[in-house]
């Protein structure tokens, strides 16, 4: 078997599995900053209990994120030694900065937050969840700096057969860092809001009088709508425009634009055929892709045909994952807008079907994050560093295919086991402390 392919599979599996957890952690941490603030200022026991419930879910999710994140810190060296040698002068610094500025902050203060509730002053306790939330955002920033540099490398010069740093800030704020940072953070807020909303809906469905569930529901639909809008506009839009400018072949692939044209249409639906690249049964809006990307309905957009065959990303997977992400993103806005409308009409607790929808929608923001990530990373192929280094020339030559196969199986088994247990135990914990509904209050 091909060791490069195996290493790619391993990276996709381990990074993809890890990436289930951080968006939830980031989103939930910020919601807990709000909940714990109220608990502290009002002293209301319901908010205290709410903080404990969601604090436990946060700690549990964070732990699985930590456990699955360890490998990622080492995997560049173990499986991608030639890549590490090529980018080491640039890529290591953000990883180290993430450790210094974020991991220590998150881990230390999460311990204080979970175990220190009765040991430290209330202000310090609130500060500890704030530090967890701040740390999680700093962490996202630095890892996205590293990843964005692979997408749109800047601030360097190639010397001695490697990329050498020319400008630290140029590399940090390369063209895609900020759009991707804001897009990812707001997506994480959506993931946190849907988790809280799902848990709350689950509790209210079981017992309409569950005060934790009622308050969490009201908070999360408002929070969820605001973040679901932000993730699409302005941040998703900004990110799309940046890709159109800086990585035109990725833009062409995700949008399904296979021939260069002025006034490129926005493809809403299509069936991708690879050879030759074409879309069947497509539904499109003329000129809209040009307008979205460049603010002009007649702007020329490069199609995939303009790029050499060996520099094109895979078409099917990028198109499908990008479009699924967008569909989910629009669904999140609709779902939360409906919730907020119901809240204003005082009927948020009435619609059982809507509440059930919220329960089953919990995993969807995570699924959307995975689609977005696949579109971004597969869209970068065949490059590991865009236009600088090919993925096929970046793996560790001294690591055999057998070794990689062994580690894929090892971590595949561990991750499946952890993932299944995580889901099962999250559901169990979600109903923690729930009182059985009193018979007379069940609606007739």
């Amino acid at each position: 078997m091909d060791p490069v392919l195996l290493s790619r599979i391993q990276f996709a599996v381990t990074a993809g599995f890890h990436f289930i957890f951080p968006p939830i952690t980031i989103g939930l941490a910020w919601l807990l900053v709000v909940v714990e603030w109220r608990a502290w200022r009002s002293g209301d026991p319901t908010y205290v209990e709410m903080g404990k419930l969601f604090g436990k879910l946060l700690a549990f999710t964070f732990a699985v994120g930590v456990a699955t994140g360890i490998l990622l810190e080492f995997q560049f060296g173990t499986n991608w030694a030639r890549y590490s040698k090529f980018v080491g002068d640039i890529f290591g610094a953000p990883l180290a900065a993430e450790g210094v500025f974020a991991f220590f902050l998150e881990s230390t203060f999460l311990g204080l937050y979970i175990f220190g509730r009765n040991r430290v002053p209330k202000a310090v306790h609130w500060l500890s969840i704030l530090m967890v939330a701040v740390g999680s955002v700093i962490s996202a920033f630095w890892i996205l700096v590293a990843n964005s540099w692979q997408q749109t490398p800047a601030g360097f010069a190639v010397r001695h057969r490697r990329a050498e740093l020319e400008s630290f800030w140029g590399a940090v704020f390369n063209p895609s860092t900020l759009p991707r940072f804001f897009h990812t953070i707001t997506a994480s807020l959506v993931a946190g809001a849907f988790l809280m909303a799902g848990v709350a809906a689950y509790r209210v469905l079981r017992n309409r009088d569950d005060e934790i569930g009622r308050r969490a529901l009201r908070l999360s639909v408002l929070w969820g709508l605001v973040s679901a809008i932000l993730v699409v506009f302005p941040f998703g839009h900004m990110h799309g425009q940046q890709v159109a400018r800086t990585q035109p072949e990725k833009f062409a692939a995700i949008e399904g634009l296979y021939t260069s044209q002025e006034g490129a249409p926005l493809v809403l639906f299509g069936l991708v055929k690879d050879r030759p690249p074409q879309l069947r049964a497509k539904i499109e809006i003329p000129g809209l892709a040009s307008w979205l990307a460049f603010g002009d309905f007649d702007a020329p957009v490069q199609g995939i045909d303009e790029f050499p065959v060996d520099e094109r990303p895979p078409l099917w997977i990028t198109f499908v994952s990008f479009h699924n992400m967008v569909i989910l993103g629009l669904f999140f806005i609709a779902a939360m807008a409906w919730g907020l409308l119901q809240r204003w009409r005082g009927r948020l607790l009435e619609g059982r079907r809507y509440l059930k929808l919220l329960v089953f929608a919990v995993p969807l923001p995570v699924v959307a994050c995975q689609f977005g990530w696949v579109a971004a990373e597969v869209g970068r192929q065949p490059w590991i560093v865009y236009h600088m280094l090919r993925t096929s020339e970046a793996h560790s030559q001294t690591v055999s295919a057998g070794n990689v196969l062994f580690s894929i199986l090892l971590f595949g088994v561990i991750y499946l086991f952890l993932g299944a247990l995580w889901v099962y135990l999250m559901v169990r914990e979600a109903g923690h402390g729930l009182q059985p509904a009193v018979a007379k209050e069940v609606p007739a």
Binding site: F76, T78, A81, D89, F91, A96, F101, F104, G116
Partner: protein, 338 residues
Amino acid sequence: MDLNTIWFLLIGVLIIGYAVLDGFDLGVGILSLFARSEHERRVYLNAIGPVWDGNEVWLLTGGGALFAAFPIVYATVFSSFYLALMLVVAALIARAASFEFRGKLAGPGWRKLWDWCFGLGSLVAGLLYGVAVGNLIRGIPIDESGNFTGSFVGLLNPYAILVGLVGLAMFTMQGAAYMCLKAEGEHLERMRRWTQGGWLAFIVLYLLATIVSIFAAPHAFQGVLGNPLFWVLSLVLIVAVVYVPVASRAARYGRAFLASSGTIIALVGLAAVGMFPRIVPSSTDLAYSLTIYNAASTPRTQTAMLIIALIGMPLVIAYTAYIYRVFKGKVVLTEDSY
């Protein structure tokens, strides 16, 4: 002092931070294999509950710093130690998961599973760290273009395993010294005996390993006798190591723990003195070794990293010290505990 040397020192500091802090976590995990009751098992978990995750960050930051400051070492060592490193990571995952998963369900089989994950995960990780250090001291087969030409089995040589056992004894001593601050009653008494037993095993194995090293890794002794740092660290090592059982017998557990930590600091320091300026000696030909110069990133990157470290690390040390103060004292199990 040039930037390369500064970064050699700073990575040494990160390794020391990790060895001292996660050292007691690993030791506590190893000791938990000998726990006598459910209550005792929970005391082990909760003794390190609020801090273990922060301690492990020293490893992640060390990995990142190595990547940034000496990328060639990061790439070469991690790809050379491929299978060993995968096993370490699997062990660390098992260990990390056990904290949160164990208490979530009540079944005895369930708890037993996570007890084994916690204990064996700590044991395997602790042993393999020493094996890795042993290989790095002795040197690994690297050819002239910096590629590893050895095998996984070759890394499991007797010398490396001996160093692995030194590490295991050291972590056990450190873990037991820490548990003396956390356990009570009969459990405390046993931890005291473990501190002294771990200490004895450490002394014997360390002396043996030092003698073997003179033959197995002669390059690590070149010129050290003329290096004042060698003498200072040796003195620290002797004072610290002698003081561990003295303090432990006198029931001065805080001091015994500091002495045990001092031992680890001196030991890592001495290993660094022996290796400098090499980071990975080549056992094929010493001239092919990776050094702080031929494996480094550019001065610009090392400067940027230095600024990051100077801003970040004092903050880290300050709030880490704070959290240790908050959780000072014996373990009290509450509803928030694991």
